[in-house]
């Protein structure tokens, strides 16, 4: 039951908790993500009742049950389509989609790319554990090549998607990546997503302790993370490594790693991250880094302004009313050629 609100009192995290038992495995990365979202929502200046969270099916998609807003736990893969309808019907709502790597990219892949293309003003959080959790451990479209799972006892022969790259190619206006264990980073990325006008896509690496434990350890372990990841910051050079001693630069559109100080290389030689660039080209190049043995980028790849689908849709209605006047049913029924029998 809903935690009751006195009018005027500022919202708190607790206002976004439901009484429901949270039914994820102990240690599941989903808890951390839930917690960040519950912290974020009260700070956005949006009345609680104006949030709606739509999810598909999967462990991750249980999310809405745990957040005290309007919510729908829908069917597998279809949350983006449902959320699009909701937003077009009710543009004033803040609509969030929670999905998993199977939900968004296997069965729901089509709705995912079309959502990115349209730029509906929705926030989509993809909880990517690189496995099907709820169905107990089959490989997903983001599982690594060669992975042994219940359906691939000899190793998977599927090459994984890079969701960030796919979203960029589909035309997404906001694309980011974070990881469950890095609470501060995650909080920052989620906030930027929330503030973006348009489809905001956040891929969140999420540890599935039960079926894919440790998948992101390299990125989160103190010993390895500095070399393994590249923290993107708008307007800052692409630096990584302990003490930020390494950098990335692009020569003729090819990425290279440079060591600061070696051969006279300085920060100024490194590429400066510009998330607001009109073309998605460089963001795409950056998205490829992880695949090529370079560090895995985390942060906001792209954040550009563009008219949202829902706003354009309202604009169409306005234009139509301007052209034809507000619809009048009586006139409509009697339009076209009519004749009277008396």
């Amino acid at each position: 039951m809903s935690h009751s609100l006195e009018p005027g009192r500022p919202l708190t995290r607790r206002d976004f908790e439901t009484g429901q038992d949270v039914r994820w495995c102990p240690g599941c990365g989903d808890y951390a993500i839930l917690s960040q979202v519950q912290k974020l929502l009260p700070t956005l200046g949006i009345p609680r009742e104006n949030f709606a969270i739509v999810s598909g099916i999967g462990c991750s998609s249980r999310f809405p049950y745990y957040v005290e807003t309007y919510g729908m736990h829908s069917i597998h893969g279809r949350a983006p389509a449902i959320a699009t309808g909701l937003k077009l019907a009710r543009p004033e709502l803040s609509v969030w989609v929670i999905t998993g790597d199977g939900d968004a990219l296997a069965i729901g892949g089509n709705h995912f790319v079309h959502l990115m293309r349209r730029n509906v003003d929705l926030k989509l959080l993809l909880l990517n554990n690189q496995i099907y959790g709820l169905t107990k451990g089959q490989f997903s479209p983001t599982s690594e090549f060669g992975k042994r799972t219940k359906t691939t006892p000899l190793g998977s022969i599927d090459r994984p998607f890079n969701p960030v790259a796919l979203a960029l190619a589909a035309g997404a206006t906001f694309v980011a990546r974070s990881v469950d264990a890095e609470q501060e980073h995650l909080a920052g990325v989620l906030r930027q997503a929330a503030l973006h006008k348009g489809t905001a896509f956040v891929e969140i690496y999420q540890n599935c302790v039960t079926f894919n434990d440790g998948a992101f350890d390299l990125l989160t372990d103190r010993d390895t993370r500095d070399d393994a990841r590249l923290l993107l910051e708008h307007g800052r050079p692409l630096l990584f490594g302990k003490g930020l001693t390494k950098g990335i630069r692009f020569r003729e559109a090819k990425a290279e790693i440079v060591i600061l100080g070696e051969g006279g290389v300085t920060e100024a030689d490194c590429a400066v991250h510009d998330a607001s660039e009109g073309s998605a080209g460089r963001a795409f190049l950056i998205s490829q880094l992880g695949q090529l043995g370079f560090p895995v980028p985390l942060g906001v790849f792209r954040a550009v302004e563009a008219p949202t689908y829902d706003a354009l849709s309202e604009e169409l209605s306005r234009a139509a009313r301007e052209r034809s006047g507000t619809g009048n049913l009586e006139q409509l029924l009697a339009s076209g050629t009519t004749w009277t029998i008396s």
Binding site: S74, R78, T84, L93, T326, T340
Partner: protein
């Protein structure tokens, strides 16, 4: 009986204009007819649909009742002169009530050999053929598979053949209007129209006006087409080719203001009406598919109403977006045909579980699979009733005619919001594309669609039910009523997840009972013909006209036969069981292998006899009539 006074207004609210009859009638014999069936046929580039529409408008203006049926080629723009490129338009009009576009034409207007070849088989024995002889030459004959010219080899001697050089006459008529040869040749449809107007005693003025409007800004085309029209009219009047012309007296139609409407247009208007009546936004999420696309096209043009249309990436997204919109407090609508319907079934299950008001329109076409997309069939009934996994009940309605589509659209949303349930509304390609006159209703006469969203947070339980077994509709944005719904089984009261044995049984039964309640709202069934006796003919959907005609004929011929036509297929009306018992036998004509038949047999254990036709074509009245007479003895 005198023809009723008619008035014509080309635009809503336009001024009254008295009927005009400025042409002097030619001095040929005039035959009075009760009704006539005309089929125009030609190449898809020949402008056949246009001629047909114009002719039907003319007939409508005279206060005649009519029904039309277009037949499009399945190709977009098939090569000229081929059999698969033939386009047809049939109209029946009458001084009586017209319920179908007619079994067999009395007159066939064939603009080329292929049109003749394809349509001749349907023409009444002894019927009239008006053929454009200029098109009956080498290549065209070959493409139609004629070895010799049928206009000259006497093979048509069983018919009344008028071979007229429509092409040549048109070219000559438009000389001097400044159009190109190609444009000139395109005017021949207006020649044919002019000729038919003369032959059937229709005035020409309105067509002149229509041409002027249609080709606005292209004065040469206006001139040329008017010239062709007049030439056609004059040809009838002066060529002495025809010794008789025909007149059909206006029908005794219910007084009122009328317009012509296809079923798809009527659905669109009905849905807009539902939106206005409920005060809610109408949201249509749809993916184009023949023969349903026109609903989307029409509604996309009505965004000055509280209407949002969304062309989705596929049918699943179409229905899902409608579900999302319904969750948001809008009227959720999706429209499709068979193959798309198959794809929507999973999501319809979600709408059943979340109990949201979504209307799913299936404009049926010939299946299975891709089937024959441009052809009529009624074979998606069982899929509508039973085609979802689990115990997943959904009310199912079917429209019987283009005009009925308007009422069914409103009825579908009435049920959806009253009972908080998805509703399936069946139409078909026949109804969808056919036009008939529609009496424009008074707004005050339309049903009410009261909707009240719950706003009171006191004692709120997401799955608590009202007297109709409906749960409350809560718009996101309402403070204090935040809650979650979804596809998992829910506690009967709180809506929390529940895997409890007895709760599940209860919920399954409640969902079924809720749909069953719809029957309580239904008016008593109307029976045409004998209220009891030998044979009850039970129909649904677009077979209405053919059945009604056949039953009328049989009744007149003394058979103790009645006809009931079901709008509600799930649940059945409460009084249907008793009605079935009032007759010795039950016949169910359907454009499928007997789907309603199965439902009736199962529900009422009545040995209903199917009359099946699965040919992508509507019933002919005679087919039903004969079967009735066999059974009713």
């Amino acid at each position: 009986m005198e023809p009723p006074a008619t008035s014509l207004a080309d635009d809503a609210g336009g001024p009254y204009s008295p009927p005009t009859a400025t042409m002097t009638r030619p001095a040929v014999q005039v035959e009075e007819l009760e009704s006539v069936v005309i089929r125009f046929a030609g190449d898809s580039g020949d402008g056949i649909q246009l001629v047909g529409d114009e002719f039907s408008q003319s007939v409508a203006r005279a206060g005649l009742d009519f029904s039309t049926r277009p037949e499009y080629p399945s190709e977009i723009r098939a090569p000229v002169g081929t059999l698969f490129g033939v386009s047809g338009y049939q109209i029946q009009y009458s001084s009586h009530e017209v319920l179908t576009s007619g079994d067999s034409p009395d007159v066939l207007v064939a603009m080329n050999p292929a049109a003749l070849k394809i349509n001749l088989q349907d023409l009444k024995p002894g019927g009239m053929i008006i053929a454009n002889s200029s098109a009956f030459s080498g290549a065209n004959l070959a493409k139609a598979g004629y070895e010799a010219n049928p206009l000259t080899d006497d093979s048509l001697s069983d018919y009344r053949l008028f071979a007229i050089d429509i092409g040549g006459l048109t070219s000559r008529a438009v000389l001097g209007s400044g159009v190109s040869r190609k444009e000139a040749s395109r005017c021949k449809n207006y020649f044919a129209l002019g000729l038919m107007l003369w032959l059937y005693h229709r005035p020409m003025e309105n067509e002149v006006a229509a041409i002027t409007r249609r080709f606005q800004g292209q004065p040469e085309l206006v001139a040329a087409n008017i010239a062709a029209l007049r030439a056609g009219y004059a040809y009838g009047d002066t060529s002495e080719t025809f010794s008789v012309s025909y007149h059909v007296r206006p029908a005794a139609i219910h007084p009122g203001r009328y317009r012509s409407l296809t079923g798809n247009q009527a659905l669109a208007l009905g849905f807009v009406a539902a939106s206005e009546l409920s005060g809610l936004r109408l949201f249509l999420g749809s993916y184009p598919i023949t023969p349903a696309s026109e609903i989307l096209h029409t509604l996309a043009g009505l965004r000055h109403f509280n209407v949002v249309t969304f062309q989705a990436e596929d049918e699943i997204a179409g229905v899902c977006s409608a579900i999302g919109a319904a969750f948001g407090g809008a009227l959720g609508l999706t429209t499709t045909s068979g193959p798309g319907m198959a794809l929507k079934t999973e999501a319809i299950g979600l709408a059943v579980m979340t109990e949201l008001p979504v209307v799913i329109v299936n404009v049926q076409r010939a299946g299975p699979s891709t089937g024959i997309p441009t052809r009529i069939e009624q074979a998606d009934l069982l899929q509508a009733v039973y085609g979802r996994p689990g115990e997943c009940p959904v009310p199912v309605l079917a429209a019987r005619s283009p005009a009925d589509c308007f009422d069914c659209a409103i009825e579908a949303f009435r049920i959806a919001v009253k009972y908080m349930t998805p509703v399936i509304l069946l139409s078909d390609g026949g109804i969808g594309n056919s036009a008939e006159p529609w009496r424009i209703p008074d707004l005050a006469s339309l049903p009410r669609l009261p909707v009240s969203f719950r706003t009171d947070p006191e004692d709120f339980h997401a799955y608590e039910r009202d007297a109709n077994l409906a749960r409350a509709w809560v718009r996101p944005g309402t403070p204090g009523l935040e809650h979650r719904i979804g596809g998992l089984e829910k506690d009967f009261l709180t809506g929390d997840l529940s895997g409890e044995a007895l709760n599940h049984q209860h919920m399954v039964e409640v969902r079924a009972a809720k749909v069953g309640r719809v029957a309580r709202d239904l008016p008593p069934l109307e029976v045409q013909g004998s209220p009891a006796g030998d044979l009850l003919v039970v129909g649904w959907g677009s077979t209405h006209g053919a059945i009604a005609h056949a039953v009328e004929q049989a009744h007149t011929a003394g058979a103790l036969v009645g006809h009931v036509h079901l709008r509600h297929l799930n649940p059945f009306p409460d009084d249907l069981g008793e009605l079935l018992l009032a007759y010795r036998q039950v016949l169910v004509p359907e454009l499928n292998l007997g789907q309603l038949t199965r439902l009736l047999r199962e529900r009422y254990l009545v040995d209903a006899i199917p009359l099946s036709k699965v040919q992508g074509r509507p019933f002919k009245v005679a087919e039903i009539y004969h079967r009735i007479m066999e059974l009713a003895r």
